[in-house]
Symmetry: C2
């Protein structure tokens, strides 16, 4: 799992726990065009404040990521800690601190263990290797049960290019709780402006289908670096030959990472692809989908493998979407659950679908052409155990 | 626990489970002024559709309530079943079916066991007694662990009056999930119009502090009956002598029922009085309070007795309320949790408060004069167990 022009390293710096990978570094061999999408939360972590303007200011050399401390709600000291960690990486790599992007995940409110980062930096930098991206995917995990890394390839005017994406995210049972980090690396030649444009559209179609627009944590960010080693004729704008194919590959990688995040939701036992159609418009469809996806009663019924569709009707009814209850039809995979607002009388079939680890829930409101999709998961006993114990 | 002019009865009609009180009847000796506040959910149960216009059409004689089936999402057959159950009660009581109010709670989508109700009606009517209101409070329970009944008294121009309130509600861990029923009975002489006016204001100050406006289930309703046996000079409008004192007593009864509902939230181990002050305006305060109160991460931390305030900051930050993170101060009871947006360094003290069964969380956003309060509870392992198993 590698991409030409990028090397990586990770190690256990003991920032919070011992003997657990918690510090990762991804380095581009030369200046890389960068793009980023950051949390819309009013409370923004120091690494977000540090990184968010950087991609527009010039090329970037590296991403430094840690788990253990989120470095959020840490005030001016937190910003200073972020600056020191970037400085430490820049000295090891022989570039300027403004060429280092930062990302942190972990407990909010605790000071970043910056001296631990500084101490680990020489060993980290000396371990850089193109084979080590999977180690970085591990170092950014918190309650994730699996590292998330995906690769896809394509061609731009006869030149092959690669996109590798890394992500972490697990506090996802309620889509708006995600602490999500993702790094997308490519060897394609793309300008920073176009990369930002493509990243924004791809996030809307992928990660934001899981996290729902604007409902983000203090540390969320998606960063993209394009190193240029593929040597293709540069992609500079939407009209560039090969742009559409490149955007497809980026989107594919991010869609798969989004799926992996939802499937690895804290304590999740079910991955649910929830589609609302027939709403009066797309925003009502989104409100309906989000209300169902966030309903603790619906999510616990999924965990119980119980086709208790009344809870879905209740959630739809308070979502603000306009519809006639007797126009509602609901399927789980292909099993009818609700027909014209009432029991579709296929409960055994529906229950059997819900015993699968992954199923779709298709809700048609019968009120128009609006549609929306979200990826979500169930609310399990383990979700409560994980989150009641997270800090201890 | 009785109120002059009202008799009640309850029995185990076997509507869904055997040997469990599931059918209750409250009868006014004479015509009673009635008022009601009903679910705003777009999906409304048949008993809600039956009852909601009745209080404006004339006096009422009785309330018939069942648990086991919600009679929601049951189409025209469900409405017919509601009509038949009202007819059955009216025949037993010798009044018209339009003088019977209906309320149901239980599983959505299942047909009401109306023949069970008809069969039980003679025995139910013959058991009517002024001492039996507590039995009705039991018959309306679903996942409630305790019946909820409250009494208070006052005086209007020298005449003593009584208010007794009954309520059920337990699926409350997320305030917008409540299936709540409440009946308020009084012997005061009040016109239906004024009773409706007072009920609306009292609901806004009490039950809606738990359930949050508009986020209601298919079956929610609060019904009030005034039988008039207190013999006070009639309260007819806001200017009537004694109106304010009567409204205070009504509100006191309903506030206590609201507290009992929140404390008996499904699986709840903590009752939390959450107050937001210093918001730009009241609606931003409400958005902030609601977002924190509904956050699964915050609620599981309460269950874990963990002063993990970063999750509160994260919820505030995505609530839409405008504030400067460094202006935020948070207390649990009197223990400082967050000072100027950062750790207040009183964690041991805060953790000790959170080991109590009940505590307050006071959030000041430092951005204005807006304020809002909600009553809420934690998200426990038992919440998931109850709701993953509810139908089985």
């Amino acid at each position: 799992m590698k991409v030409a022009g990028f090397r990586a390293a990770a190690l256990a710096a003991g920032l919070r726990y011992k003997d657990r990978l918690d510090l990762g570094l991804i380095v581009s061999d030369g200046p890389a065009a960068a793009a980023g999408v950051f949390t819309q939360n009013r409370v923004q972590a120091a690494p977000v404040l540090w990184s968010k303007e950087k991609p527009t200011k010039g090329p970037v050399r590296a991403i430094l990521v840690n788990s253990g401390q989120a470095n959020a709600c840490t005030g001016p000291d937190g910003l200073d800690a972020a600056r020191r960690s970037a400085l430490s990486a820049s000295q090891a790599l022989g570039c300027g601190p403004d060429e280092i992007l930062l990302a942190s995940t972990g407990v909010i409110g605790q000071a970043l263990n910056v001296s631990g980062i500084e101490k680990a930096m020489p060993e980290l930098a000396s371990g850089l290797d193109e084979k080590n991206l999977p180690l970085v995917a591990q170092a950014m995990m918190t309650t994730d049960t699996k590292p998330k890394i995906v690769k896809a390839q394509g061609e731009i005017q006869g030149r092959c290019f690669t996109v590798v994406g890394l992500a972490k995210g697990s506090g996802m049972i309620c889509p708006n709780m995600a602490t999500m980090l993702s790094f997308i690396l490519t060897d394609a030649v793309v300008t920073a402006g176009l990369l930002q444009d493509i990243l924004g559209r791809a996030v809307a179609k992928t990660f934001n289908r899981v996290t729902v627009d604007g409902d983000t944590s203090t540390n969320d960010c998606v960063l993209a670096l394009a190193g240029g080693r593929a040597g293709n004729p540069a992609l500079t704008d939407r009209g560039s030959l090969g742009r559409a194919g490149f955007e497809d590959v980026m989107t594919t990688v991010m869609a798969e990472l989004a799926r992996m995040i939802a499937a690895d939701g804290e304590g999740a036992t079910k991955l649910v692809r929830l589609a609302v159609t027939g709403a009066a418009d797309d925003s009502q469809a989104e409100a309906a989908a989000k209300t169902v996806a966030n309903s603790p009663l619906v999510k616990t019924a999924w965990f119980g493998q119980d086709p208790n569709w009344g809870r879905i009707m209740g959630a739809l009814g308070r979502s603000g979407a306009e519809f006639d209850p007797e126009g509602v039809n609901i399927l789980v995979d292909n099993a009818p659950l609700v027909k014209d607002g009432q029991d579709a009388d296929h409960e055994a079939e529906a229950a059997s679908v819900m015993r699968q680890a992954e199923f779709s829930l298709s809700i048609d409101l019968g009120a128009g052409l609006g549609r929306a999709e979200v990826l979500t998961c169930d609310l399990s006993l383990d979700y409560v155990r994980i989150n009641a114990d997270y800090r201890s």
